[in-house]
């Protein structure tokens, strides 16, 4: 069996989620009731039997480190391989690298030492359930230099404007990488490449003073090298703004979208917490809602997501909202189209109503 190693490159992911990314990077934003965004990519990797994963973190990585620890939740606290979170702490005065090449260059030992022959490089904003072994099979079969992963999006949304798009010829080869807003071939910020070739490209990029590995090292060589496209056909959400976060969170209340993302044979792992089962009081009324453990619900909740340990008082009404860990919604408070970050308290009787297309976001630990 071929071995694959993984790199999760957060270096040029912008933290565009307003209050949700004031204190944390996008990869660490809570999602789907009990996860963080990055859990999905890491779980995809471990479910594909990838046993060595490096995370290139640049900024606001503190909560990411707290969350990932040594990777125990993903069975990645290993002697061989495992999970490596690599914040920038480089002190080599002779280092000439720039941009994300700094990461590739300063962490070259990860690439050098891995026993894997292939490397999957991915970001954290594409929420999906993909088996990278299928991508590898396609990659080997086509004999490509690089295989990039894309998906066809029928119903393009504003978040896809920020994504790269692909023009693909009949043979499956990538003819162009661009930002055409009409194109539905959304590049998922994921590619697979042979380890030795990756190493060669990194050296080339540094020698030429490049600052963005994908754009300069791969896209920039489009005429010379054989880039193949692999079409992923499962559930897909691209999350790079509050609006896309909100819309794609609520999409999970649709049962079939949910089941496409959470599959029994390729589960999503996350850090273990010890919360009691959620308690629904006699006075509660909950419908069409995802609820994590540790909640105590006395009020009315509909079309919402409650993260772990949320308390909802009697007479409180929550609609179309996302309530993160340990928030307290006191009696008779009313929330509609709201995202509450962790540890917020909404005093009794308060009403917060956002717009359905633009939720009202409350930063963490606020009391209102």
């Amino acid at each position: 069996m071929d071995r694959i190693a993984g790199i999760i490159n957060l270096d040029h992911e912008q933290d565009l989620m307003d209050e949700l990314t004031y204190f944390r990077c996008g990869a660490a934003v809570p999602f789907a009731g009990r996860y963080r965004m990055i859990d999905f990519t890491i779980s995809n990797m471990t479910n594909s039997r990838i046993e060595a994963i490096a995370v290139f973190a640049r900024r606001k990585y503190r909560s990411l480190m707290d969350h990932l620890e040594q990777g125990k939740a993903w069975d990645l606290d290993r002697k061989r391989g495992g999970l490596f979170i690599l914040p920038p702490d480089w002190n080599d005065p002779t280092d000439l690298s720039r941009g994300d090449l700094q990461h590739f260059h300063n962490n070259i030992d990860f690439i050098k030492r891995t026993l894997a022959d292939y490397i999957v490089v991915s970001g954290s904003q594409s929420i999906c359930n993909i088996d990278y072994r299928d991508v590898l099979d396609a990659h080997k079969q086509s004999g490509a230099d690089v295989t990039v992963v894309y998906t066809k999006v029928r119903d393009l949304q504003p978040e896809h404007n920020l994504a790269h798009k692909l023009t693909i010829d009949d043979s499956g080869r990538v003819a162009a990488i661009h930002n055409d807003q009409q194109s539905s071939n959304v590049y998922m910020d994921t590619y697979i490449i042979e380890k030795d070739y990756l190493y060669y490209l990194i050296e080339q990029c540094i020698a030429h003073g490049c600052a963005h590995f994908f754009l300069d090292g791969i896209k920039g060589r489009l005429p010379e090298i054989n880039i193949q496209a692999y079409e992923y056909k499962g559930s897909y959400s691209l999350i790079n703004s509050v609006e896309s976060y909100y819309r794609n969170s609520k999409k999970l209340l649709n049962r079939s979208s949910h089941d496409e993302l959470f599959k029994e044979d390729s589960p999503v792992y996350t850090k273990i917490k010890n919360e009691a089962p959620s308690k629904y009081a006699r006075s509660s009324n909950v419908t069409n809602t995802l609820v994590a453990n540790g909640c105590i619900v006395n009020g009315h909740v509909e079309e919402s997501i409650l993260f772990r340990g949320v308390k909802v008082g009697k007479g409180a009404v929550i609609k179309n909202s996302i309530i993160m860990q340990r928030c307290e919604i006191e009696e008779n408070a009313v929330l509609e189209n709201v995202i509450l970050d962790k540890d917020c308290t909404i005093s009794s009787g308060r009403t917060l109503i956002g717009a359905p297309e633009k939720p009202f976001v409350v930063a963490k630990s606020k009391t209102m």
Binding site: V268, N274, E275, A276, P277, S278, K279, A281, L290, V291
Partner: protein, 387 residues
């Protein structure tokens, strides 16, 4: 090597036959409770929260699931580099070997394990009870009283007292007499099956007891009475709080229902005294638009399309629409079909309840129906066929 002040020994060998088919393939301490837990989570979490970091778990009957569940104790923060959890099955020695013959014999056979830590005190626990208890304050009292043994007791109602081992004490809490299930109890202080001994003293009694042919090698029947006879200092430590033996189907059901009371005596959400358990890694629970949920505990991985009232639902349970579950306990990964009616029942792990099934008796005086994995249905005329 460092010595340990107090080492806990958890007796987890019991079969729990009164739990019927729930314990056909698992030892009683592995039985499920409270939507998420197994019984053994309670004593293990108590140890962890009490700062007791060395625990021997004595297994015997069907230990596979228990072994696997305990692992090295990381779920309870008991995976320590020195100490931690050790599972202690009976084993063969060059002079032979055999099964543990009684609770005292089980400890006797592990004297070597205990001596390794040179403990001053040994805490003996059983894996049969649901309670939250700070063993460290019991240990403090034990040390303060300079007792040879301290036995934790709980006041029970007088009319129930004759079902328990009753401690008669003097005003200082010194135990004068131990009555096993007395017809005319002189006190309502029941033994909780939680003992602390000076290890040096206990060891001597274990060695002596082992020599006696007529001994059943049991703490309650042999060791404690002999110590009392010998005038040893036995002290009663009064525990206050929730404590429940879940040895029967009815009491297991009752203990689950206790959690649904307005202000339950047993608080599972106390951050200062967490009950740890192994995590099944399931997505958030989903309450569908057509579901109604009232007075329920529900765990992750559930999908509720039907109606839940006054019930405890473990992880991974799917309840289809128009199903009605009332006053019941649904164990992990049960699938409940459309239009099913369940009243006053315990449904065992992994059961698959077909559409339109009717289970259990809504009559509040009826016995609790147990539906176990392999399709056996007990004690209810309302029970129907399960695949």
């Amino acid at each position: 090597m460092k010595t340990k002040e107090c080492v806990a020994m958890l007796l987890a060998g019991g079969q729990g036959t009164r739990l019927k088919s729930l314990t056909k393939k698992i030892a009683k301490p592995a039985v499920y409770f409270g939507g998420k837990y197994r019984i053994i989570d309670f004593p293990l979490s108590n140890c962890s929260n009490s700062g007791i970091d060395t625990v021997g778990v004595l297994t015997q009957y069907e230990p596979l699931i228990l072994n696997n569940y305990i692992g090295i104790g990381s779920s309870w923060d008991l995976d320590r580099n020195y100490g931690g959890v050790s599972v202690l099955p009976p084993y063969m020695q060059s002079e032979g070997g055999g099964w543990y013959t009684g609770t005292a014999n089980a400890i006797y056979r592990n004297i070597e394990f205990l001596d390794r830590y040179e403990p001053e005190h040994v805490l003996i626990l059983s894996g049969d009870h649901i309670y939250k208890m700070d063993y460290s304050s019991m240990l403090e009292e034990h040390i303060e009283q300079d007792a040879d043994s301290t036995i934790s007791v709980i006041p029970v109602s007088w009319d129930e007292a004759s079902r328990f081992g009753i401690m008669n004490t003097d005003d200082d809490g010194r135990i004068i007499e131990f009555d096993e299930k007395p017809d005319f109890p002189l006190s309502n202080l029941a033994s909780m099956g939680v003992y602390i001994f000076k290890w040096e003293v206990l060891k001597r009694y274990l060695l002596e007891d082992e020599e006696k042919d007529n001994s059943s090698h049991d703490f309650g029947k042999d060791i404690i009475p002999t110590m009392l006879q010998d005038g040893k200092h036995l002290h009663a430590y009064k525990f206050e709080g929730y404590w429940k033996d879940v040895g029967t189907v009815d009491s297991l059901w009752e203990a689950n229902m206790d959690l649904l009371k307005e202000d339950p005596e047993l608080n599972l959400s106390d951050n200062k005294w967490r009950i740890y358990s192994k995590n099944p890694n399931q997505p958030a629970q989903y309450i569908a638009p057509c579901a109604t949920v009232r007075n329920a505990l529900i765990n992750e991985g559930c999908r509720i399309y039907g109606s839940i009232d006054t019930s405890v639902i473990f992880y991974g349970v799917h309840v289809e629409d128009s199903a009605v579950i009332k006053d019941s306990v649904i164990m992990p990964n049960v699938k409940i079909g459309k239009n099913v009616k369940i009243h006053r029942a315990i449904i065992a792990e992994g059961s698959n309840i077909e559409d339109n099934s009717v289970i259990g008796d809504p009559n509040p005086d009826s016995q609790i129906t147990l539906v176990a994995e392999e399709g056996s249905v007990m004690a209810s005329s309302y029970a129907t066929i399960i695949k």
